[in-house]
């Protein structure tokens, strides 16, 4: 059973389009995250939800909007995609304040 899953795995789209990435965890964790990994492999936190409440919202353009319908799901919607949005987006989850983070397989977004 996959602990943290993301769909789609690959996403190729044109500039200006709107797209969504979905994430689900079956670990019973209470906290979920979105990260962006750029072409230089640098990882940056974007958002974090704890018990469906947004607790971390980094300086991300407001074209990015997360949504957590329940504790097991965290989706990321991106409006008006730009070339600079091309990256790998990872979802992760954890339980409690000191637990390990479990990462999803990543979604490679390419904006043409």
């Amino acid at each position: 059973d996959t602990a943290v899953s993301q769909t789609p795995k690959y996403l190729v789209t044109q500039m200006g389009n709107d797209k969504s990435i979905k994430c689900e965890q079956n670990l019973g964790h209470d906290t979920m995250y979105w990260y962006k990994q750029d072409s230089k492999k640098f990882l940056k936190i974007m958002f974090s939800y704890n018990n469906k409440e947004l607790i971390i919202n980094e300086t991300v353009p407001n074209r990015f909007s997360p949504k957590s319908p329940d504790k097991a799901h965290l989706n990321l919607h991106i409006n008006s995609l730009e070339l600079g949005d091309s990256a790998v987006y990872f979802c992760a989850s954890s339980h409690g304040v000191a637990g390990f983070q479990f990462f999803g397989p990543g979604t490679r977004l390419t904006v043409l």
Binding site: L43, V97, A98
Partner: protein, 110 residues
């Protein structure tokens, strides 16, 4: 703002050798994590270090934490090819904000 630096950025080493990766961070934190990422893959959690002097070991990898020096080390003993990957440390700012280091790309040569 919390900054996390790793060195070296790239490390090429012979099988059987020992080496250490360093992770420095700029402000106080009560948790430090180490992760491994294989090329094109996701991140795998290796260690969490929660207190000054904490040491964790798994196979050929040993991680330690010195909170006074704001320094963690990941020591590799008798490297094997399977350890080739990128290793990240991450420090927590506040409760849930994980700040990742730049990563160390390790290549173990046969």
């Amino acid at each position: 703002e919390l900054k996390v630096e790793q060195n070296p950025l790239f490390l090429s080493m012979q099988e059987g050798k020992n080496y250490t990766i360093y992770c420095n961070y700029s402000t106080t934190s009560d948790r430090l994590y180490w992760y491994r990422q294989d090329p094109g893959k996701s991140l795998e959690s290796l260690f969490v270090l929660l207190s000054n002097g904490a040491v964790k070991q798994e196979g050929r990898l040993m991680a330690s934490l010195d909170t006074k020096a704001r320094l963690s080390t990941l020591h590799i003993t008798a490297a094997v090819h399977d350890l080739s990957a990128t290793y990240f440390c991450a420090v927590v700012s506040g409760t849930y904000k994980y700040i990742f280091g730049t990563g160390t790309r390790l290549k173990v040569l046969a």
